[in-house]
Amino acid sequence: MNPSSQSFGKSLFELLSSMRFAISLLSILAVASIIGTVLKQSEPYSSYLIQLGPFWFQVFEKLGLYDVYHAAWFLLILTFLVTSTSVCITRNAPNFVREMRSFREHVSELSLNAFKHKHEAATTQQPETLAASAQRYLEGQGYKVRNLPREDGVLLAAKAGSWNRLGYFLAHSAIVMICIGGLLDGNLIFKAQQVLGVKKIETRDLPQSQVPAISRLLPSNPSFRGSVQIPEGSSASVAFFNVADGYLVQELPFTVALKQFRIEHYTTGQPKSFESDIELFDLSGKKIREATIAVNHPLIHEGVAIYQASFADGGTRLTLRGWNLFAPAASSFPVEGAVHGNAALTSAAGDHTLEFIDFRPFNIEDMGGGIETPRDTMSVLGGSPVSDNRSLRNVGPSFQYKLRDARGQAREFSNYMLPLQLDGRWYLMSGVRESPNEAFRYLRMPLDPAGEIDSFMRLRGALLNAELRPEIAARFARQALPQEAWGTEIEDKLKSSATQMLGLFAEGGFQSLGRFIEEKISEAEREKVMGTYLRILELAAFEALQLANQQAGLPAPQADQATGWLVRDTLNSMSDLFVYGAPIYLQLMQYDEVKATGLQLTRSPGKNVVYFGSLLLTLGVFFMLYVRERRIWLRIKPGHALLAMASTKHTIDFEKEFARHAQALDTLVK
């Protein structure tokens, strides 16, 4: 070996085991870790692209910032930390072991005299007698003592707290152990396979069975952490895990089947527990075991832990009634579908694709209702920590879907199955929004006394039907005018303005009525005219309802307040239809709920290594911080005793202890 390489090796060793290097590593690790907490990790790449723009997206991708904690450079820092700690242990080990064992018996009197903490006393006792009582004293204080005869007396060499050094070993080997355990459970094997080209991630959205072998990991894979969604009554023998912008399929050594998934709720509506009844089958189809898993209660089978991680809809079957909102008749058509499925809708309103997104059996809404939780000073000071949940209500099931037109444009809808009471009246609600980050805007459709939306739909149809308009206008005029005015010019005029109002309203609701007024009427009179027009519209609409009922062979509506509100609400709701954004409303009639459980499956061989390392770390930290290594020498000569004390750490406790021993010596020598 030539001297220069030897010195390089040596200085590398020096560097790796140096304190400065270790501290720098700890700091770099801390700073690097922050990145991953600021930038959300493992999101879909498309959302990073939107967030960062194309340039920074690429830079960040190259740096591995989307999965910092598995990036090569981060693993390199960890490797350095492990190496540095290991080197540090190797470097200190021989010395520390020697120190732990040694009593430092060869200390010279000269060096004892040079100690900062020393105490001298004159004595009349024989050296051996004093040594014996001092030894008893020191042993009583927890010291291990060696009695060493010298030519002119005795040297007592004592030590306590050697475990401090043991703590050093425990804590530092624990760090190495935890890191190694963590690496065992990381995805290093896959990374190696990826570099070698044996495996690659799948980025296409394929059915599981069609994912090629190059993106599938075998059941023998020693460590994995994947997740899978299983609908009730179905099973899975694979799990998925996301890597970068794709995923991998992990084949499981067994099949998991879901019998039932349950959610329990508190009385306030918050979820109380999520549970899955699962069955495990071996790959030949033989049942191995049955179990119920819940959050905090996983099942561990042959080293694979199965966790309750999430839940979703598993394809609830929906029976719906479709309404053509702009058809001049109250006609509905049946629609069948299942969540996560699509359906083609061909109707008078054109071709649409219906994409069922989700179904929720419960919706807990804050109904307000004037119940204010009191938060004034007195009520809090003497107050009650009982939360007031009276305004929370379950408003029943809802389902979500997208309606995509022939051009591919889609809006998202969320329709409730049960009516909601607002301002004392009942409505069916349908929410609509253009994009997922908007809140839903709601269309409220009034219910008739039978509790149905059929009257709303019938009146809506009649008002949109141009053929009925003259008849409606005629009936309205007869109702509005006294008998003397029948058949006069006034009646004709009223008829024609009513027809005009109805026509305008059918074109675009109150908005087109408003536009008409703005164009034709002078500003001073607008308000008055608007009032008259609305009155005409309402009364005409009431006639329309009568006509529609008559045509449908139904009894005439009562001329009461309820019908008045029904007519008014229908006009409002119809006006909203023009901004609802869909020609069809889907009313949920029946559902057959199918839930799906989200399971996480992990195999982590490094877990026990990490736990054992953690135990060592705890012990090590306590030994290092709470066991103080101290040494005492008592050199006794005839007529004279010298006490010297040393410690690696000079704390206040040490000073106090030294003072105590010095005082003890003064007592002992007497």
């Binding site: 304190m19 270790a22 501290i23 700890l26 700091s27 801390a30 870790s33 922050i34 991953g36 907490t37 600021v38 959300k40 990790q41 910092v68 904690y69 009582s133 004293y137 009583g140 204080q141 963590g182 459970d185 952490r225 508190y266 918050q270 979820p271 109380k272 999520f274 959050v295 905090n296 209660h297 832990a305 939780t373 000073t377 809090v380 003497g382 107050g383 009650s384 920590p385 009982v386 939360s387 007031d388 996480q600 499956l601 992990t602 982590s604 990490v610 736990y611 953690s614 770390l617 705890t618 930290v621 911080l625 709470y626 750490k649 704390t651 206040i652 406790d653 005082q663 007592t667 002992l668």
Partner: protein, 379 residues
């Protein structure tokens, strides 16, 4: 001869009749709880309850003032429970409950007493009045007693709301802030007795007052004092271990930071004549960081073990976990510098102060600014 040497006798021989009485009370209470409520506990909860008995007994034996605190808190809490007569509405009717010892009243008393203690400690520090400093200590003890009574009663109230709602009050940001104030104050009082110096109370109580300020804001502005049922992820016996261990860590780090402030001020000659010697402050600071680090290590390990059971992995690089690691690395570096390099002085004091900001971010900042699995205490 042996006595003359001031030889410390073994712990057991030093115990007084009061120590044994205390042990008997703790054991009786624990065993009564086990026999009465054992049917509703799982094996781990029983183990925690049984292990709590010797832990509390030894705490009382080693730190004598803990015994009267325990007995007072226990007695008043039981009295409060009896006042309820199993009816939550009594909170607003019964005199004692309404004005003193319903959970919310007791916690508000705690806040008030901590505020008074802060002022008194500062008064004592500035006027060099030993009497005021002593009063500060007494007020702090009273605040601790009220705070613990508040938590105990809150625990009971949660069961009155609903048998399935009941849980130990360490489950949300409001409850753990109360716990933070209590643990920090207790640890401080331990050091106060040990170092025979009350002046540091002025500094430590500042950070507790900040905690009190947060509690008040959180109560009045957000109504955070309401008891909410546990989300399924928190329904685990691990919570009883993980959360308190963490708050011993946070409390100790806060004390260390305030001592750091005192050290820096005294080092510049500000208040120097009123504060203990620099070496004493420095030693206290080291002790606080050492105990904090040890418990923070345990808390993080417990957290990892809980995560392994709840989330399917002992380490997920969730923001809270990552920041816990950063806090841990920070104090690990601090201890290395001090123990191995033997460094002392203003640099370490500054570091302890900065460490508090890192700790605060890990404690609250993560919940405020970052999202993740630990989203129980959002602001």
């Amino acid at each position: 001869m042996e006595l003359a040497l001031n030889q410390p006798a073994p712990l057991l021989k030093r115990l007084s009749w009061f120590d044994w009485l205390f042990a008997a009370i703790v054991a009786a209470g624990g065993l009564f709880a086990l026999s009465r409520f054992g049917d509703y506990m799982d094996i781990y909860e029983k183990a925690i309850l049984l292990a709590a008995i010797p832990s509390l007994v030894v705490s009382g034996w080693l730190w004598k003032p803990f015994r009267p605190l325990f007995i007072v808190v226990g007695a008043v809490s039981l009295f409060a429970l009896s006042q309820y007569q199993g009816n939550l509405a009594r909170m607003e009717e019964a005199f004692f409950l309404k004005y003193l010892i319903s959970s919310q009243a007791a916690i508000m008393w705690m806040c008030a007493l901590f505020g008074l203690a802060t002022l008194t400690y500062w008064g004592g520090l500035l006027t060099r009045s030993e009497f005021m400093l002593k009063t500060g200590s007494t007020l702090t003890w009273s605040a601790i007693a009220m705070g613990f009574i508040g938590l105990m009663v809150r625990w009971y109230e949660s069961y009155l709301i609903g048998a399935d709602v009941g849980h130990i009050p360490v489950s949300n940001l409001y409850e753990v802030f109360v716990l933070f104030c209590l643990i920090t104050a207790m640890m401080y009082l331990y050091y106060e007795a040990r170092y025979q110096t009350r002046q540091m109370g002025a500094f430590v109580l500042l950070v507790i007052s900040a905690g009190v300020g947060f509690i008040l804001w959180y109560t009045f502005d957000r109504g955070a004092h309401e008891i909410q049922p546990l989300v399924p992820a928190l329904k685990s016996w691990w919570m009883k271990l993980h959360v308190p261990a963490n708050f011993i860590g946070y409390g100790a780090f806060s004390i260390a930071a305030m001592l750091g402030v005192a050290y820096l001020l005294a080092g510049r000659g500000i208040l120097a004549s009123r504060l203990p010697r620099l070496e004493v402050i420095d030693d206290m600071m080291y002790k606080a960081i050492a105990i904090g680090f040890a418990f923070f290590t345990i808390a993080t390990i417990l957290g990892a073990m809980w995560a392994a059971e709840a989330w399917g992995g002992y380490w997920s690089w969730d923001p809270k976990e990552t920041w816990a690691l950063i806090v841990w690395l920070n104090y690990a570096a601090w201890l290395h510098i001090r123990l191995v390099k033997g460094l002392r002085g203003p640099m370490l004091a500054w570091w302890a102060v900065v460490g508090l900001f890192v700790t605060i971010f890990a404690f609250i900042g993560v919940n405020m600014f970052l999202s993740g699995l630990h989203s129980y205490g959002t602001l």
